[in-house]
C-alpha cells in the first residue's frame, strides 16, 4: 500500500519534470542531489542488507530484493528521460553546426557557379 503511493508519487514527479523545463538549474541541482542519495542508498544496501529488508517491510514490500527492483525500475525511467532530452539538445546543436557548414559551403559554391559578387 505505502509502496504504491511512493511509486505513484515518483511517477507523478517524473511527469512533472518532463513537462517542466528539464534543463533548468533547479532540476539539475535536484538531479545531483538524487544521485547523491542514490549512491548513499547503494552503500547502505551493500553494507547492511538487513536494513533494506527492514525498510521493505516498513513500506509493505515483501522482500528487500523487491524494493531494490522497484528502485532500479524508477532509476531506469529517470535515466531514459534524461538521455532523451540530452539527445534532443545534442541534435539541435548538431543541426546548427551542419546548417552553418552547409550555408557557408553553398555560398562559395553558388558564387562560383553563377559568378555572383558578394
Amino acid at each position: 500500500m505505502i509502496i504504491q503511493v511512493i511509486l505513484l508519487a515518483v511517477a507523478a514527479a517524473m511527469l512533472l519534470l518532463f513537462i517542466r523545463n528539464w534543463h533548468s538549474v533547479q532540476t539539475r541541482a535536484l538531479k545531483r542531489l538524487a544521485f547523491l542519495g542514490f549512491v548513499l542508498a547503494v552503500v547502505i544496501a551493500v553494507l547492511r542488507p538487513d536494513w533494506v529488508n527492514w525498510l521493505a517491510h516498513k513500506i509493505d514490500v515483501g522482500r528487500g530484493t523487491d524494493l531494490v527492483l522497484y528502485a532500479l525500475a524508477t532509476a531506469f525511467v529517470f535515466v531514459s528521460v534524461n538521455t532523451y532530452f540530452r539527445l534532443k539538445t545534442q541534435e539541435a546543436r548538431f543541426t546548427d553546426l551542419a546548417r552553418a557548414i552547409a550555408v557557408r559551403d553553398a555560398t562559395e559554391l553558388n558564387a562560383e557557379r553563377f559568378g555572383v559578387r558578394r
Binding site: 534532443k88 546548417r99 553553398a106 553558388n110 557557379r113 553563377f114
Partner: protein
C-alpha cells in the same frame, strides 16, 4: 541590385525578389524537371539537398538552381530552415516560397500565392487542397488532414482548412522570425503554430496538388502521424 540570375533566364521578371526553397531528399528522378519548370517564372530557386544518397545533388548542380548541401541527413524541417536562411542572406530577397521536390505543386499556384502576399495585405499565404473541392485527394488522406486541421488549436485559430500543405509563401518579416526546430516531418504543424502565435496576417489560397504515382509513393505514410504527434507534444517543453 538583384543576385544570381540563373543561367538561361534573361532580364528582370516580376518575381526577381522571390526565392523558392525546395527541400530535396532522394528525388534524383524528378528534381531537375521540377526546377526547370520553376525557373522561367521564378529565377531564384534554392534546393537544399538533405544528404541524399542518390545523385540528387548532381542533378541540381546542372540546373540553374542554387545548391545547398547538408553534410548529413537532418530531415525535411531542417532542410527548409536551411533553405530559408540561405535565401534570407541573398541580396534583394523579399518573398520566400516553400515548394515540394516531388512535383506535386503547380508553378502557377506558387505564383498566385506570391501575388497574394505581394499585392494583398497578407504576410503569409498557405496553399490549401480543400478550399475549392478536393476530388483528387485520396479519401483517407483527406479525412486525416481535415481532422488534423480541425483538431489543431493553432490551425483553428487561423481558420485553416489544410494544415499540412508544402506550398507556402512568406514575406521577409515572417521568414526571418521563423525558426523551425522540428527537423523531421512535424515542422508543418510547427509552422502553423508559429503563425498562430505571431501577429502575422495569414491567408489561405486554394491550390491543386498533383497526386502522381511518384508523389503518392514518396508521400507521408499515415503511421508517421504518430511520430509527428509525439515530437510535437514534447517540443514546447524543450524550447524554453
Amino acid at each position: 541590385m538583384q543576385t544570381a540570375e540563373a543561367p538561361g533566364t534573361t532580364g528582370t521578371s516580376e518575381f526577381d525578389d522571390v526565392w523558392v526553397v525546395i527541400p530535396v531528399y532522394n528525388e534524383a528522378s524528378v528534381i531537375a524537371g521540377v526546377v526547370e519548370d520553376l525557373l522561367p517564372t521564378f529565377p531564384n530557386v534554392v534546393c537544399v539537398d538533405d544528404g541524399s544518397r542518390d545523385d540528387s545533388a548532381d542533378r541540381i548542380f546542372h540546373t540553374g538552381a542554387h545548391l545547398v548541401t547538408h553534410p548529413v541527413n537532418l530531415g525535411q524541417g531542417a532542410a527548409l530552415q536551411t533553405g530559408l536562411e540561405y535565401a534570407l542572406l541573398q541580396d534583394g530577397s523579399q518573398y520566400f516560397v516553400t515548394f515540394d521536390a516531388d512535383g506535386q505543386h503547380r508553378v502557377e499556384d506558387a505564383a498566385e500565392l506570391v501575388c497574394a502576399v505581394k499585392c494583398g495585405d497578407a504576410d503569409v499565404a498557405l496553399g490549401s487542397r480543400f478550399l475549392s473541392g478536393a476530388e483528387d485527394v485520396p479519401w483517407i488522406k483527406r479525412t486525416l488532414l481535415k481532422a488534423v486541421a480541425a483538431l489543431s488549436p493553432a490551425a483553428r485559430r487561423l481558420q485553416l482548412t489544410d494544415a499540412h500543405n508544402g506550398l507556402r509563401v512568406l514575406n521577409r518579416a515572417a521568414a526571418s522570425q521563423l525558426k523551425i526546430t522540428m527537423n523531421g516531418m512535424a515542422h508543418a504543424s510547427e509552422i502553423v503554430d508559429y503563425l498562430a502565435r505571431s501577429e502575422l496576417a495569414v491567408t489561405e489560397i486554394p491550390v491543386t496538388v498533383l497526386y502522381t504515382d511518384y508523389s503518392k509513393a514518396k508521400g507521408q505514410s499515415l503511421i508517421n502521424g504518430v511520430n509527428i504527434l509525439f515530437d510535437l507534444s514534447l517540443r514546447s517543453r524543450r524550447s524554453s
